[in-house]
Symmetry: C2
Subunit: 437 residues, 2 copies
């Protein structure tokens, strides 16, 4: 049912592999972070749960197969290929880093080993699903770091690239360090705390702001957050102060947050509402949050939308999915790509995270430190339940806390050292000279 | 079933409207392009079909309602509200510009008139769905313009923000002027031409490149496109030339496209394959395409991935969804927002596109030129079948062809004039003084 969600060339290659008698050859593909996104010192791996779900459900139905058969590309392909597709399931292995693992340039996040057609078709889906959530989790980690303990709430579904991206982005943002999301479906599906009370339209739907505030309080009680800027922020603050509790607090959504938060804090305190909190939202990103925090603006919580939901300063990153090994009748061949600006390295790999560096090694090697890639699916079956989202979030938070301070900063720093093991270097050299002849 | 795909505050407001006895008040909301995205002279409206589909299917199931009831925000909300939600369907009206319409800053794309709760909940979904596809269609239009008649194929699902965004993005890219997509599901769902033959892994799966090329040709015949850069582009070109037909041609995927395309053209021509075509893909955007075309590079077709699928230079734009009217017991009240940097204008509107300018008028006014907003859903029912994707694509192409030349360029030019009618200006003034009064 999800088999068509791939680039056509994966399917024409599948037909080719089948017609050339290669369907039983076992291929190993690696999903690698070739380059970190712009402005990033690390990324937070996310989206693996969706990758697993995809693999466990990979299939084609009759209608989809009929569509393919009618395409001109498949005019010369034998009917047996379409029977093969009808029965296709993922029967291979997936090794992956746990979600919440920090990764650096040059490191693999997933390894797939399966009959070549089963390993080829997932390329498009895996690249999109894992790259996107990894981008969002990484951006969220930066926002949370900048907020220095104040909660950051993900508000960006309306700006996400489709509502579904908003929902999966909310998941990734929580994993990366956000305290919650405004996306109700993300709360329902993934158990993420959901937050939100009222928009400008609430205020606009009443003849006067005071009436709107009073009615909101009656419905939401202590969850009430008065949105102050429909007409005039300070006027709104005075009205909220006059009403008093119960309320969580107020929200600023435009203007100079540093100045306004101090003025609003003053208005609330003067009226005795020292427990009422101030949230700021609107055009925020990690840099603005950092500056507000550094300046001592009395803001208790930040809502981040557009910049987070689209990873606006780095809306894409250089991830690749490349064949690294091929086993034909039990004989293993190592594969790589040597074109000018897009090299890939041969052989299945493991990453060992040691105290002060990472070593990318061949998969069979023993190394020092934590081995990041772990078996997730073996022979088409899930090895054990995946970590919960809360566990993945903790893993990310702990890893970020353990980073050298310079890498936790928002500015790009000297990269975390990632080196190749001697065995891997030898394999690269050998494969290169074999292929270049 | 899609009711939870919204921000929580839409649902807390819904509860508030219900508890305050406002559920029967009829609200009019407008979806407006507040600002054009960066670097754009116009946008191509897209995603309306998905917006319509959402509205026609808006509902909540029991499990979703149980989830909401258990949230602390709804602790004080009466059970009658949840009965209301269980029966909720969209019974209102939607006016929208046809997909493929060009829009400029300050223009509404959609108007929703419905009982306030039905009009409030769709905000999040509509903003995300329509904004995203509009961004992608607009970027595609720029790429197609730059290619000056050469086909541009959308290759970006792997870089899209989720696989679903890749599929909807492929739809929008076709609407905006692409000739096709690599996304097979987009072909299946939307009838878009699909394209693609082989990746580097195809070449890598054979002991030598010549063998890989020969086998591909055997399977794909005249649809064959040899990917040249797995090891060395010119070496690859010589092998393809040696093999000869049948083939569509070859694909360059890295390196200096201008130089390589000339060298590869020479190799193919010298071997007598003057009909074999050259496609280029990899790190392309509208600017690089324009430069290659201007320089006379012999490239027949362009594949655009990352930059198109993420609208990378403008991954978001300032669209808003604001209440403009509210009818209480038959009495109409006009609403607007007057905060510093985020003003909205009162009253339902119409846009008249005349020969040399657009006039934004009140919805009841008569104006010169084409009225862009048309009834799509009335009383919860689709008025007539939506235009086909091909019709929307034609509409966009024709509108772009009719633009003043400066606005068709890639650089930002003097904006297309968008003015307010006298009646609208009067309403804005009155509403402002009423609210400030």
């Amino acid at each position: 049912m999800n088999g068509l969600l791939t680039d056509l060339y994966e399917l024409t290659m599948a037909a080719g592999y089948f017609e050339c008698g290669k369907a039983k050859e076992k291929a190993t593909f690696e999903f690698t972070i070739r380059r970190l996104p712009a402005h990033r010192n690390y990324v937070v791996a996310a989206g693996i749960a969706q990758a697993v779900d995809y693999l466990l459900n990979l299939s084609f139905n009759d209608e989809e197969i009929a569509y393919l058969r009618a395409l001109p590309h498949f005019a010369q392909v034998s009917p047996a290929f379409f029977d093969y597709l009808r029965d296709l399931r993922f029967t291979g292995d997936l090794f992956a880093v746990p979600e919440g693992t920090l990764l650096f340039a040059g490191e693999p996040a997933l390894t797939i080993r399966a009959p070549i057609i089963e390993a080829q078709i997932p390329e498009t889906y895996l690249l999109s699903a894992v790259t996107f959530q990894t981008l969002i989790a990484s951006k969220a980690a930066r926002c949370a770091t900048a907020a220095a303990g104040r909660p950051v709430v993900e508000f960006g579904t309306r700006r996400a690239h489709t509502p579904e991206a908003g929902t999966l982005g909310a998941r990734a943002a929580f994993l990366g360090g956000c305290a919650g999301t405004s996306n109700t479906l993300a709360g329902f599906r993934y158990g993420i705390p959901v937050m939100g009370t009222a928009a400008h339209s609430w205020v606009m739907s009443f003849p006067c702001e005071m009436d709107a505030f009073r009615k909101l309080q009656r419905v939401l009680g202590p969850a009430t957050v008065h949105l102050l800027d429909t007409y005039d922020t300070l006027e709104g603050a005075r009205r909220a102060a006059k009403l008093g509790g119960p309320m969580w607090g107020v929200r600023l959504d435009s203007g100079d947050f540093d100045a306004l938060s101090r003025q609003v804090r003053g208005i609330l305190d003067e009226a005795g509402h020292t427990g009422a909190k101030i949230m700021a939202s609107g055009n925020l990103d990690e840099y603005r949050i950092r500056d507000l925090v550094a300046g001592g603006a009395p803001i208790d919580s930040f809502g981040v939308g557009t910049e987070l939901a689209t990873s606006a300063d780095a809306p894409h990153m250089g991830t690749i999915y490349k064949m690294v090994e091929l086993e034909i009748c039990g004989i293993k061949r190592f594969t790589a790509k040597y074109s000018e600006d897009k090299t890939s390295f041969p052989g299945a790999k493991q990453v060992f995270r040691d105290v002060a560096r990472d070593v990318v090694a061949r998969s069979g090697e023993c190394g020092k430190g934590e081995a990041l890639l772990r078996p997730v699916i073996l022979g088409g079956k899930l090895v054990e339940p995946l970590p919960t989202l809360a566990q993945s979030r903790d893993r990310a938070a702990q890893a970020i806390a353990n980073l050298p301070p310079a890498l936790r900063q928002l500015e790009v720093a000297e990269p975390w050292p990632v080196i190749h093991s001697r065995e891997l270097r030898e394999l690269i050299g050998q494969t290169h000279s074999n292929l270049r002849g």
